[in-house]
């Protein structure tokens, strides 16, 4: 370890640091264009989705994607998820997690660089900066300029654009939770629920602050992900790397021309730093601030082209390939890093969960029965000596039309049943109950067996009275005691 060297400066230690504003420069290149594309797609999905319609008939909402908290339903195009099917949501979350592992092990922090909402909105706000204030140099100049009417006006204009974007962002969020056109109208006529205004207010504020001002600080100081990341990357993952064996020692074109043996390919033009949205210098090596957006690759490739050197001084590469290349091996094609046991294993796990969920979706029944026997009292002796048990049945009709359902006893010979509305006079082995569209109906059922019937297991069977004749069986138990009363 080298000895610490004294530096000039005051006596005070600098315990708190103000942020150094990042003025990233415009750049064009394949990665930048891909970033545009991802931004358009993700923002498009986010803002447009709530407005899509989906006809579900007269008994269900017509919004394609709707999280209906009040009625506890989640609609997604042709799929309707009930609370008891929450495992689908859990499955999606697990898939999202494994998907993140997969992407990270294959292409490092590509999620951070392209698709993370913080990145997408930060990028959007940086374009606003560029649109209002101009590119990097103009912005630096404006930042340094003293406050005057012109600067106030400019900042006011820029911040109001921030605010409008933030408001649309917060506004779009609530549209996922209610009928979008109705809520939209109610929102502006001040008739929406206070929760809607509060949600929009909070999301507008966070978008404004995080996207407009905090930016890379969210990634560096607040986000846990870059820290977890380390555990998921290895020397075979693609990451953005500066090939120092090729670049060093840095020097201008002129110097290099004079002394080609001494200088590497990096001409120290700082373009890679200027374009970086988090303002870091990738040439210092892997660091937490790098979101792997590859804009520095675009920048350096362009510089290399100008000075007539091969591209890829900064490149997507694995650390392993970098080392090999430094030893003189030919560059490894990127796809090789994508296809390896680890990524294949993640893909298989991911796909099999997806497949299992699709299968479950395909075969799931829209008819469901659950039964809970009364425990207090567990059974009842009737005046004719027979024994009666009571059960609470939950009949689920998950179709968006009302259906008749047949409840039947399976087992328990000789027993009869009736419900609270049907009454004991109409006791029979089967009963028909109408269940409203897209609803759960709770029915109290009484089962009566003749005197001397022993305690035993039996089932209720629910069958929908339509073409499908979907059915569900709910096993339960009949309780009988000693000769009672």
């Amino acid at each position: 370890m080298n000895s610490p060297k004294p530096v000039d400066g005051g006596d005070e230690l600098n315990l708190y640091e103000s942020r150094k504003t990042v003025h990233n420069q415009r750049i064009d290149g394949p990665f930048r264009r891909f970033k545009w594309f991802v931004m358009l797609v993700t923002l498009g999905i986010y803002y447009v989705t709530p407005w899509l319609r989906w006809d579900r008939g007269p008994y269900a909402p017509d919004q394609a994607v709707l999280i209906d908290l009040a009625n506890r339903r989640f609609y997604m195009f042709g799929i309707e998820i009930w609370p008891h099917e929450f495992y689908f949501v859990a499955g999606l979350l697990i898939m999202a997690g494994i998907g993140l592992f997969l992407v990270t092990s294959a292409v490092g922090r590509a999620w951070c660089g392209y698709a993370c909402p913080q990145t997408v909105w930060t990028d959007l706000f940086q374009h606003v900066d560029r649109f209002v204030d101009g590119d990097r140099n103009a912005r630096i100049r404006l930042d340094k300029a003293p406050w005057g009417p012109a600067k106030v006006a400019r900042r006011g204009f820029k911040w109001s654009i921030y605010l409008v974007i933030s408001l649309i962002t917060g506004g779009a969020w609530i549209l996922y939770f209610a009928d979008a056109p109705t809520l939209f109208r109610d929102f502006f006529t001040l008739q929406a629920d206070p929760v809607a205004y509060a949600t929009v207010g909070i999301l507008t504020a966070t978008t404004f602050v995080f996207g407009g001002f905090m930016r890379e600080q969210v990634c560096v100081y607040m986000c846990p992900w870059p820290r977890i990341q380390t555990a998921m990357l290895d020397e075979k993952s693609l990451i953005v790397t500066y090939k120092d064996w090729r670049g060093e020692k840095r020097g201008s074109v002129k110097k290099a021309a004079k002394n080609p043996d001494e200088f590497g390919d990096c001409i120290d033009c700082n373009q890679c730093v200027a374009v970086c949205p988090t303002g870091i210098d990738i040439r210092e090596g892997q660091q937490i601030g790098c979101i792997t957006c590859a804009l520095c690759i675009d920048a350096c490739d362009r510089v290399m082209k100008e000075v007539g050197r091969p591209r890829g001084l900064i490149d997507y590469a694995t650390l392993e390939a970098c080392d090999a290349e430094a030893e003189g091996a030919p560059p490894q094609p990127a796809w090789k890093a994508l296809l390896r046991p680890r990524t294949i294993a993640y893909t298989l796990i991911w796909a099999s969960i997806g497949g299992a969920m699709l299968f479950a979706l395909g075969v799931r029944s829209h008819t469901d029965l659950s039964v809970s026997p009364d425990r207090n009292p567990p059974f009842m002796l009737l005046s004719d000596g027979s024994v009666r048990n009571a059960y609470t049945l939950k009949l689920r009709n998950m179709e968006s039309r009302p259906r008749d359902m047949e409840i039947a006893l399976s087992g328990l010979p000789g027993a009869m049943m009736w419900t609270d509305t049907i009454g004991p006079d109409n006791a029979a082995r089967t009963q028909i109950v109408a269940v409203p569209a897209d609803a759960t109906k709770t029915v109290r059922a009484y089962v009566k067996a003749s005197s001397g019937t022993a305690a035993q297991d039996f089932s209720f069977i629910l069958t929908s009275q339509d073409e499908q004749r979907e059915s569900d069986e709910a096993p339960t138990r009949f309780t009988a005691g000693e000769e009672g009363q």
Binding site: P4, G9, Y16, E17, Q217, D374, M380, S383, Q485
Partner: protein, 314 residues
Amino acid sequence: MMADKPSDGKRIDDPTGTELVGHEWDGIEELNTPLPRWWLWTFYLTIIWSAVYVVLYPAWPLIEKGTEGVLGWSSRGDLIDEMGAADAARQTFREQLAAIDVDKLRDNPDLLQQALAGGQAAFKVNCTQCHGSGAAGNQKLGYPNLNDDDWIWGGDLDAIHYTIAHGIRQDEDNGLRQGVMPAFDGAFDAAQLDAVTDHVLSLSKKAQSNAIGAQLYADNCVACHGASGEGDRAQGAPRLDDAIWLRGGSRAEIKAQILNPKMGAMPGWEERLDPATVKMLTAYVHSLGGGEQTVANTADDPVTEPEVDGDEQP
């Protein structure tokens, strides 16, 4: 290891390029990684926030009680407000319930549902002590089971309502639901007691009848319990021909009941609960599984005796 220690300025750690704070333990030196300034502001803000909070809200415990805060807010006050609001919300329901006849409740599913929920809650508070939380009663103590289909004073909505309102064997009440069974201690000798017990058991096919028992029954019991033991709800005389025994159906239990009948009592709830709650209780008890249809033809006794339900019985 560290070298020179200049008195004046910052020192930089070479490999990392980071400033040192000057703390050292066993040759390991602490690097200075400054927090961002916004973080510092956030921290100050939380301090200001807590100061404001302490002033506005109850916060500081003192010896007797805590500071109250200038807003005058308290969680108890919150609760009272909420309960007031809930009560106000229930007001319409209570008014509707008070206005409706109890046997019309079934025609109004919404009201019925609320009544059942309210009835269940009221049952838990007022009735479970005797009838049990599942309303299954207690045979040893003679509290009737409210789930079964045997009703001593009648099991339709009106009868149940009347029983709950007036209670059973309440002296101060109007004389209804006062069913009394005389004690036969001393009236029968041992053989007669055996014979009449046999006859009672034979009514529900649990023993052979016999001539002596049948005669004794005809002389002493028929007036209330009926020739075939069918009981009489008007007097609250229980059926003897079914499988349900309020105080046990064993030979010994029946004998004990003949000799010295135990007769339960139930308070009239009209006095203690408001009419809406009594109706809710009625709906709930009726819904337990044994509720009977109201019989329309009660032409003979329009007002005075709307069959009492009850389960109380010697």
